[in-house]
Symmetry: C2
Subunit: 444 residues, 2 copies
C-alpha cells in the first residue's frame, strides 16, 4: 500500500478495506507510510490497528509522530503503549522527546520503572548499556526443560528474544546460556544444568558499541548478554540493534573521513542549515590550514618566477601525495574499525607501507619521467626533479597515512579524523617542501 492509497481509502471512508490492507503489511512499512502523513490521519489509522501492531508501528515512528501520538492519546492508551514497548525502545523514545512529553511518560510509569529509566539514561551514548534491553528470558539451573518451555510459553511473547535464554543464580549473576534450539531438541525431563552452556561471551555496560558490533560479527551471535562490574546480568543486546549500529558506525566514519561532523540524521530529512553546519567547520579549518602551503609557495616565489614550469606540476604532485596517503590511512582506519588491525601492529604497518610505497613511488616516478621527457619535452633535470619528488612524497605519504590513524587510536582519538582531509593537508605541505628542496638542489 502507498500513501496515496491510504488517503484515497480515508477519503472514501472505506475503513474496512483500509484495515484489511494494513493488516497485510509489515509494521515497519506501515510506520514508513504514516511518517509521511499528517498527524491527525496518523492518529486515526494508529487507533485502527490491532493493539500489538500499533505499538510496533509506534516504535518505528519518527520522533515527531511519536510526540504527536503521546500528546493525543489518553493516559490509559499511553500506559498500554509504554507497557508493551521494549525497554530499549522506551529509552530511545525518552531521549528523543521534549521535556513536557517526557514528564507525561514518567507520570504514567511506576516508581520502579522510573528508577530503571534513570539508571539506563545514565549509560554513556554508544555504550553497550545504551543499546541493551531488559526483556530477556531468565531461567534457573534447577528447572527442567519442560518447566523452562512452560515458562517461555507463558512469558515468551513479551520478550525481545526467546531464542537465547539466560541462566542466572539468586544474585542475578550470569552463569550460562541455553538456546531455544537446545531446549526444543532436549528430553523434557532433563535439567537446565545438564544442557547449560557455561562459557558465555558477554560485554560490560560501558563497553563501546563498536566493540560489541565486532563480537556479533565475529561469532555470528543472535544476542549478547550485558553484565555490570559484579557480572550481574543487566540486559541483553540483540542482533537487529547491532545491524543499525554497524550502519551508523560506518556512516560516521564516512562522514568524518570526508571532513564532516558526524550526524545520524538522514540526508534528505536534514535541513539546509543543519547540513551546512555539519560541513563548514572542517572546510574552514582546512582552508586555514592550507595557508601553510601558501606560505611555502610564497617563500619560493623567486624560484617559481624564474621557472614557472615548476608551478604546472604542483597540483599533480599534491594530488598524488594526497591519494597515496589516503589509500594507506583508509585501509588502517577501516582495519581498526573492524578489529583487523590493532595498535600492536604499528611496526608491521610501517614496514608494509614502506615497501608498498617504494614499489608505487618508483613505478609512478618512472611513468612520469618517461612522460615528461618524451611528451612534455622537459629538460632532464626538471624531469628528474619531478620524478624524485614523486618517489619521496609517495613514500612519506604512505608511511604517514599508515601510522597517523594508529597514533590517533593510541591517543584515544577517533582514527577516522586522521584519514582524508587532514592527511591531505599535511602531505600537501610536505610535498611542496620536498619539491622545492629537490628543485633548489638540482636546478639552481
Amino acid at each position: 500500500m502507498t500513501e496515496e492509497r491510504v488517503l484515497e481509502l480515508i477519503e472514501q471512508k472505506n475503513y474496512i478495506d483500509l484495515k484489511k490492507e494494513l493488516s497485510e503489511m509489515n509494521e515497519v512499512d506501515i510506520s514508513e507510510i504514516l511518517n509521511a502523513l499528517d498527524s491527525s490521519i496518523t492518529l486515526l489509522i494508529f487507533r485502527m490497528l490491532p493493539k500489538d501492531t500499533a505499538v510496533e508501528v509506534f516504535a518505528h515512528f519518527s520522533p515527531e509522530q511519536q510526540a504527536g501520538i503521546i500528546n493525543a492519546v489518553s493516559d490509559k492508551e499511553l500506559k498500554f503503549i509504554l507497557d508493551e514497548l521494549f525497554f530499549d525502545d522506551m529509552i530511545d523514545l525518552i531521549e528523543e522527546m521534549p521535556a513536557n512529553i517526557v514528564n507525561k511518560i514518567l507520570a504514567n510509569s511506576s516508581a520502579d520503572e522510573r528508577k530503571l529509566i534513570n539508571q539506563f539514561l545514565k549509560y554513556p551514548a554508544q555504550s553497550a548499556g545504551s543499546l541493551m534491553t531488559i526483556e530477556y528470558v531468565d531461567l534457573k539451573k534447577n528447572m527442567t526443560v519442560q518447566e523452562a518451555l512452560n515458562h517461555i510459553k507463558e512469558y515468551g511473547l513479551s520478550k525481545e528474544t526467546i531464542y537465547t535464554c539466560y541462566v542466572t543464580d539468586n544474585n542475578r549473576k550470569l552463569i550460562g546460556i541455553v538456546s531455544l534450539r537446545n531446549l526444543v531438541v532436549a528430553e523434557t525431563d532433563k535439567y537446565i544444568s545438564d544442557i547449560l552452556h557455561e562459557e558465555v561471551i558477554y560485554v560490560e555496560t560501558h563497553d563501546d558499541q563498536e566493540t560489541v558490533a565486532n563480537i556479533f560479527i565475529k561469532y555470528g551471535f543472535m544476542a549478547l548478554p550485558v553484565v555490570d562490574k559484579e557480572k550481574r546480568l543487566t540486559g541483553i543486546i540483540t542482533f537487529d540493534d547491532i545491524m543499525d549500529v554497524m550502519e551508523q558506525e560506518a556512516t560516521e566514519d564516512f562522514q568524518i573521513m570526508a571532513a564532516m561532523a558526524p550526524s545520524e540524521a538522514a540526508y534528505l530529512d536534514s535541513g539546509v542549515f543543519e547540513l551546512a553546519k555539519q560541513r563548514i567547520p572542517w572546510l574552514l579549518i582546512l582552508m586555514i590550514a592550507a595557508t601553510v602551503t601558501g606560505r611555502i609557495i610564497t617563500k619560493f616565489e623567486s624560484l617559481l618566477s624564474t621557472m614557472v614550469v615548476l608551478t604546472a606540476f604542483i597540483p599533480m604532485l599534491m594530488n598524488t601525495a594526497g591519494n597515496s596517503g589516503n589509500q594507506a590511512s583508509t585501509l588502517i582506519v577501516r582495519g581498526l574499525a573492524t578489529d583487523e588491525v590493532a595498535l600492536k601492529d604499528a611496526w608491521k604497518v610501517l614496514w608494509k607501507e614502506f615497501r608498498i610505497s617504494i614499489i608505487a613511488g618508483v613505478f609512478l616516478a618512472t611513468v612520469n619521467f618517461a612522460k615528461n621527457m618524451l611528451f612534455d619535452r622537459l629538460g632532464l633535470l626538471i624531469s628528474l626533479t619531478i620524478s624524485l619528488t614523486v618517489v619521496v612524497t609517495v613514500m612519506l605519504s604512505k608511511m604517514i597515512g599508515g601510522i597517523l590513524p594508529l597514533i590517533a587510536r593510541k591517543l584515544k582519538l577517533d582514527p577516522a579524523i586522521m584519514a582524508g582531509p587532514l592527511i591531505t593537508t599535511l602531505v600537501d605541505a610536505l610535498t611542496l617542501m620536498a619539491y622545492f628542496a629537490i628543485a633548489s638542489t638540482l636546478l639552481l
Copy 2:
C-alpha cells in the same frame, strides 16, 4: 587459550588439559588460533576435537588450512565434514579451493549433491543466491503444531536456523512462515495453517546482496527466504551472513572512495605486491588526469609570472573545492548504499546542495576576504579574485559532488567511484579555470 599455551601443552604431550581447555572455547576462537599454527599441529588438534565442533572450526579456517585438512584426512572423514557443513559454507569452500581439492570434494559427494553444487556455483557473486543455504525447516500447512515441533526436534540440529520455519506447498512454492516463538506459545493441537504468517517478505536468487542487507536492516529479520522466478523456495539467508556482507560492502566503498581496487583480503594478511597492485592503477590514472590541471596552469603561465602571488592560493582553492565536493558526494554515496537516497531524488539533492553551497561558499569567502585584506595585506582586487573563486568553486563542487553519484547509479556504475579522487581531479580543473578567468577579468 593462546597459541603459546597450545604449543606448550603439545610440547608436554598434555593432551588431557589441551582437550579440556579447547572444549571451553568458542569454535571461532579455536579456528583463529589454529589458523596461526603449522598445518601438522592443526591436524593433530583438529582430530582431537569432538566431531561437531571440528566441523564448525573447519568452517572458520583460512582456505590454506582447509586445503591442508582436506588433503590430509581420509575419504570417510571428509564425507563426514561435507555432510555436516552447511551448504553455503560448502559452496564458499569449493569456490576457494584449487582444482585438485575440488575434485576430491566432488568425488565424495553424491550425484544429487553435485547437481545442487553446480546450480549454486552459477549464482552471480554478491547475489542472494550466492549467500543462501538450503538447511531450513520446511513445514506443511496441514501439520499440527505438535507435529511441527516433533519435526523440529528430530531435524532441528542440522538446520542453519530453526527460529523461522518455512511453509511450502507441494510444488515447493513458499506460502508462509511460522516463527518458532509462535510455535512454542501456540496450543499444540492447532494447525500450521492457523498460525501461518502469509505476507512474507522475500528476495529472488539474483537480487544484489546490498538490497538483501538493506531489507535485513530495515525489518530486523533473522532470516529471509530466497525464491526463484516461480516463487519456489530455493534457500534462506541468515542474519549472520548479512553482517559479514554489511562489513564487506562498507569496506569496499571505503576502498573505492580512497582510489583503490576493492579487496576482501585483510590488510595484515595481504602481501606487499598485492596491496601495491590494489593501489597503483588508480594512482596512475589520477596522476595522468592531473595533467589537465598542469595544462591549465601552463596556459596561464604569463598571468602567473606577472602575479606570482596568485600561485600561493592554488593549493588552498583546490583543497577547498575538493573537500566541498567530497562532503556532498560522500553523503550521497552513503545515502544510496543505505537506501536513504534514490535516483528519483536527484532534483532534491541538487536543490539542497545549491542552497548549502551558497551558505558555505559565502561564509568561507568572507573569512578569506577578511584574512587576505587584514593579515596577508593583499590588494582589494586580488582578495576579491580569491574570494569570488571560493564562492564559485564551492558551489560547483557541491553540486557536482551531489549529482555525480546519482549519474553513476543511473548508468549502473558503482556510485562510490564518483566520490573522492575522481571528484577531486575534476573540481581541481574547474577551480583553476574559474580562478584564472576571474583573475584575468579583475586584474588585467
